[in-house]
C-alpha cells in the first residue's frame, strides 16, 4: 500500500464514521430529551465505559446540562442491566467484534426497547448487531485505537449537546405505513425476552412494551429466553449462538 492509498482509506473511514456519529448523536439527543438514561458497558475495557459516563454526567464545558449516564455492573452485566434498563433507554458498549457479552446484550436490548450503540475496532460484528455501529478498522490493542475510542465518545458527547440545542429538529418522524403490512404496527417476527412462564403462556418484554404470548408452539421456553413472536404466539426460540 503506498501513501496515497493509506490516505484514501483513512479518509473513507473518517467520512463514514463522521456520518455515523452525526446520526447516532441525533438519536441519543432524541432519547435523552424523552428521559432516557445512557448505560455504558465495556466487558473488555471497563475504564472506557466509566469515561463515557463521566463525560455525560459531569460535562467538561461549564454550563452544559448533566445528562443521565451510568456504568453497567462489572459482574454479570446482562443480569444487572436487565433489571435496571427501561424502555426508551440507551446502551453504549465498547468492545471488539468478537465480544460475545456485548453481542448478547445488544440483541436483548432490542427486546427491552433500548436503543443500542456499539463502538469497536478490528473485524466488525455481524450486520444488524446494534442500531448504531461506530467502527475503526485498526486492530484493537494497537497504540492509536485507545485514543480514537476516546475521540469517538468525546464527539458523541459534543454532537449530542449540539442536537439538544436544536429542539425543533429532535421531534421523531411519525412511522410511515406503506401497503397492507406495516412492521411497526403488526408483529411480524417481533423479538421478545421471556420474563415468566405459566400454563402455556409467557409474560415477555418487547420493544413495544410487556405483553402475554402463547408459547405452545415452542417446545420449551424459560425465563430470559429470547423468542420470536408473531400474531400473539412465540413461533421460535432464538439461538444463543452468536456468529463469530
Amino acid at each position: 500500500m503506498n501513501g496515497d492509498e493509506i490516505t484514501t482509506a483513512a479518509e473513507r473511514e473518517l467520512g463514514e464514521l463522521t456520518r455515523d456519529l452525526a446520526t447516532t448523536s441525533l438519536a441519543m439527543a432524541r432519547r435523552f430529551r424523552a428521559g432516557a438514561t445512557l448505560w455504558c458497558v465495556s466487558p473488555t475495557w471497563p475504564h472506557h465505559a466509566r469515561h463515557v459516563a463521566v463525560e455525560f454526567v459531569h460535562p467538561v464545558i461549564v454550563g452544559k446540562p448533566a445528562l443521565s449516564a451510568l456504568i453497567g455492573p462489572a459482574e454479570e452485566p446482562i443480569a444487572g442491566l436487565r433489571a435496571s434498563m427501561t424502555r426508551g433507554d440507551l446502551v453504549l458498549a465498547i468492545g471488539d467484534g468478537h465480544d460475545v457479552v456485548t453481542a448478547d446484550l445488544m440483541r436483548r436490548a432490542h427486546a427491552w426497547g433500548v436503543e443500542t450503540i456499539w463502538i469497536g475496532a478490528g473485524p466488525r460484528p455481524p450486520a444488524g448487531a446494534a442500531d448504531h455501529v461506530l467502527w475503526l478498522d485498526d486492530a484493537p490493542g494497537t497504540a492509536a485505537v485507545d485514543g480514537r475510542f476516546i475521540l469517538l465518545y468525546h464527539l458523541l458527547w459534543e454532537l449530542t449537546h449540539v442536537c439538544l440545542e436544536h429542539r425543533g429538529r429532535l421531534r421523531e418522524p411519525a412511522p410511515v405505513c406503506e401497503g397492507e403490512v406495516c412492521i411497526t404496527c403488526s408483529d411480524d417476527g417481533q423479538l421478545a425476552e421471556v420474563v415468566s412462564v405459566r400454563d402455556g403462556e409467557a409474560q415477555v418484554r418487547t420493544a413495544e412494551g410487556p405483553r402475554i404470548v402463547d408459547i405452545t408452539l415452542v417446545d420449551r421456553a424459560a425465563t430470559n429466553d429470547l423468542v420470536l413472536v408473531h400474531a400473539g404466539s412465540a413461533i421460535a426460540r432464538v439461538s444463543d449462538e452468536v456468529p463469530a
Binding site: A22, L26, H47, H51, V54, A143, L151
Partner: protein
C-alpha cells in the same frame, strides 16, 4: 473542568430550528471531521515534540521495573479512567508484551471514599502511596490542567520516598510542570480538555511501547 466558551463548539450550526434535518446532520459530520483531524494532528505533533523526552522516561521506567519497581497511576474524572487504562496496559498487555507490576490508585472506591470522608480529597492518592510505595516504584499522574491538588500531593510524597514521578499534563503543564517533585512532565500543548485526553492516551501508549523495548532481556538478568 474548563471555562471554554466557544459560541458553543459549533459556530457553523446556527440556532434556527426550522432548518432541515439533513443540513444539521451534514453540519455535525463536517464538524466531527474537523475535530478528528485536529485530534490526529495534535497527537502527531505531541509525539514528535516529546520524542527524546519519551525515550528518557521510558529508559528510567524500564530500569526501575527491572529492579522490581511497580507503577502506580492516578488522575481525576476522565483522567482517572485513562489512569486505569494505562495500569491495565502495563499489567496485562494486549498481544503479548511483558506484563509489568502496575496498579491504578483509583480502582478501590472504598479507599477513595474513606480517605475523602475522613481527611479530604486532596490526600486520596498520597495516603495510598504512603502505605504502598517504596523505591524503585514509579508514580504516573494524569491531569489535563496539570493543577490537580491531589496529584501534586501524591508527587510530593513520592519524590520524597525516592519514586520516579511522571506527570502527563495539558495546556502549559500547570503546577505539575513547575513542581520540583515531578521528575518528568510530558505536556500536550492544547487548550481543549478533550483533544488533550486523546493525545495523552497516545502518549501513554507510546511510553508503554518504549518501556517494553528498553526492558533488559530476562534471560540475562
Amino acid at each position: 473542568m474548563s471555562e471554554e466558551s466557544t459560541g458553543f463548539l459549533y459556530p457553523m450550526i446556527d440556532g434556527d430550528d426550522a432548518g432541515d434535518l439533513d443540513t444539521l446532520l451534514e453540519d455535525l459530520a463536517t464538524s466531527a471531521t474537523s475535530k478528528s483531524r485536529t485530534s490526529a494532528e495534535l497527537t502527531s505533533t505531541t509525539l514528535g515534540a516529546l520524542d527524546q523526552q519519551l525515550d528518557l522516561v521510558a529508559r528510567e521506567m524500564a530500569d526501575r521495573f527491572a529492579r522490581g519497581g511497580r507503577l502506580f497511576t492516578c488522575g481525576n474524572g476522565g483522567s482517572a479512567t485513562d489512569a486505569e487504562g494505562v495500569a491495565a496496559l502495563f499489567a496485562v498487555p494486549p498481544g503479548g508484551g511483558r506484563p509489568l507490576a502496575a496498579r491504578s490508585l483509583v480502582a478501590d472506591v472504598s479507599i477513595l471514599t474513606a480517605l475523602s470522608n475522613d481527611i479530604g480529597f486532596e490526600v486520596v492518592f498520597s495516603r495510598q502511596l504512603i502505605a504502598h510505595a517504596r523505591e524503585p516504584d514509579i508514580v504516573m499522574g494524569f491531569s489535563t490542567s496539570g493543577n490537580s491538588a491531589n496529584l501534586i500531593a501524591a508527587f510530593e510524597h513520592a519524590a520524597g520516598a525516592g519514586l520516579l514521578t511522571v506527570g502527563i499534563a495539558g495546556y502549559e503543564g500547570g503546577a505539575m510542570a513547575a513542581s520540583d517533585a515531578v521528575t518528568h512532565c510530558l505536556v500536550v500543548r492544547s487548550d481543549s480538555v478533550h483533544r488533550i485526553q486523546e493525545a495523552q492516551s497516545a502518549l501513554a501508549h507510546e511510553l508503554w511501547h518504549r518501556v517494553q523495548r528498553h526492558l533488559p532481556d530476562p534471560a540475562l538478568a
